[in-house]
């Protein structure tokens, strides 16, 4: 999908107008953020916004996230185990110390 974010009032207004006129191409709308269909028409709308508002419009292309494909099993297991911890207030740092799970710092350094 195409993620479009407006960074000025004018850009937000144009974004609203475009969404109103082309609901079929809008997947989701959150205030000044919109997800457009990844079609040529979605790209047409995003490019129009970019041309009109320059740096006040950010466009990113999103991809579905598959945790079974994008990350190593250790990360997935760490997440699953931590979410089933018994003490909800236990910070990840402490939770991890008695296990083999990767540290936050390790994971922060590793790009997907």
């Amino acid at each position: 999908m195409l993620l479009v974010i407006a960074y000025s009032r004018e850009a937000r207004q144009t974004l609203r107008n475009i969404c109103r006129g082309h609901e079929e191409s809008v997947v989701r709308r959150f205030g000044r953020v919109v997800l457009l269909e990844e079609t040529e028409f979605g790209a047409f709308l995003a490019t129009r916004l970019r041309v009109k508002h320059g740096g006040d419009i950010q466009v990113e292309r999103t991809a579905p996230f598959n945790e079974f494909d994008a990350v190593r099993p250790a990360v997935r297991e760490a997440a699953t185990d931590y979410e089933s911890r018994e003490t909800p207030s236990l910070p990840y740092k402490q939770f991890r110390s008695e296990t083999d799970h990767p540290t936050s710092a390790e994971m922060k350094e590793q790009s997907l």
Binding site: A6, Y7, S8, R9, R32, R50, G54, G55, D56, Q58
Partner: protein, 285 residues
């Protein structure tokens, strides 16, 4: 006020001009300081207040945003609101936000171009390699094919280097842009804050003048029962639903217009009566 249309110059508090020009053209001339002697219309007068933009030109079929105009009228009378201080502070902060413009357009375009060049270079290298193999299989001399292959590989390697450089430049520009987007985010929030205060102040001013506006409309309707009979024959729920011309006349009466009002309606006995009511000079068409 000095008003010149073509070669005809008229001076005074109240001037009448021939209906050869439209009211809005004359109003534009009031609002712009012309130095061009070639302009057809020229009006020398005091600088119009913001209110003039809203109700400084009266003609049949005109439009007016009554509440906005009334809030502006309040400002011309020096009225203030409890939101003014916050509004000023937010505006000041907004002008302090520095948003640099880092355009990624160039980077995106260059990167897409270099990627395409690499693709083409790969195809060319594969073809050259195929030709070398063909020559070998057919027992032909491979010298020329080999030198072509070498050239194609050289070209591919250059294209790849260029593509890597373009991608690195794009990535670092994107990182810079991230900081810049934070500034834009802050500017955006301040813009919203200013707009909110403006709305609050606006509503406050309208509230302050609501009764006076209502009374002025009543006075106006008594003054010109004939002209207003149509406009007032249907019951009005709120004074702000009144038609544009009486609304503008009432707002103009309440605020200070500073500059001449262009009048293309004949509601008053005479243009000088209109000038009296609006407490400013009048250009009557």
């Amino acid at each position: 006020m000095i008003c010149r249309v073509g070669d005809v110059v008229r001076c005074g508090e109240v001037v009448s001009i021939e209906p050869e020009v439209t009211a809005t053209t004359v109003a534009d001339a009031v609002r712009t300081e012309s130095t061009d002697a070639d302009d057809r219309i020229e009006v020398s007068c005091p600088t119009p207040s913001l209110l003039h933009e809203a109700v400084g030109c009266l003609y049949p079929g005109m439009g007016v945003q009554t509440k906005t105009a009334l809030a502006r009228a309040a400002r011309t009378r020096g009225m203030t609101t409890p939101y003014d201080e916050d509004l000023e502070a937010a505006r000041a902060k907004l002008t302090d936000v520095c948003v640099e413009s880092i355009s990624l357009r160039q980077h995106r375009e260059v990167m897409a171009g270099t990627e395409e060049t690499v693709e083409q270079a790969r195809v060319r290298a594969a073809e050259a390699r195929g030709r070398v193999r063909e020559c070998e299989e057919n027992g032909l001399a491979t010298d020329e094919a080999n030198s072509r292959l070498a050239a194609a590989l050289q070209y591919l390697s250059e294209a790849e280097t260029a593509a890597i450089a373009a991608e690195q430049a794009y990535t670092s520009a994107r990182e810079q842009r991230r900081a810049q987007l934070d500034n834009r985010e802050q500017r955006f929030r301040l813009q919203d804050r200013v707009a909110n205060y403006e709305r609050e102040a606006h509503a406050y001013l309208v509230d302050q003048l609501r009764d006076e506006f209502s009374e002025t409309l009543t006075t106006l309707s008594e003054m010109m029962a004939d002209q207003l009979s149509d406009a007032l024959s249907t019951p009005i729920r709120s004074p702000f639903d009144v038609e544009p011309v009486p609304a503008a006349l009432a707002v103009g009466h309440l605020g200070n217009l500073s500059a001449p009002v262009v009048l293309a309606i004949d509601w008053f006995e005479s243009p000088s009566k209109a000038s009296e009511w609006l407490d400013t000079s009048v250009i009557h068409i």
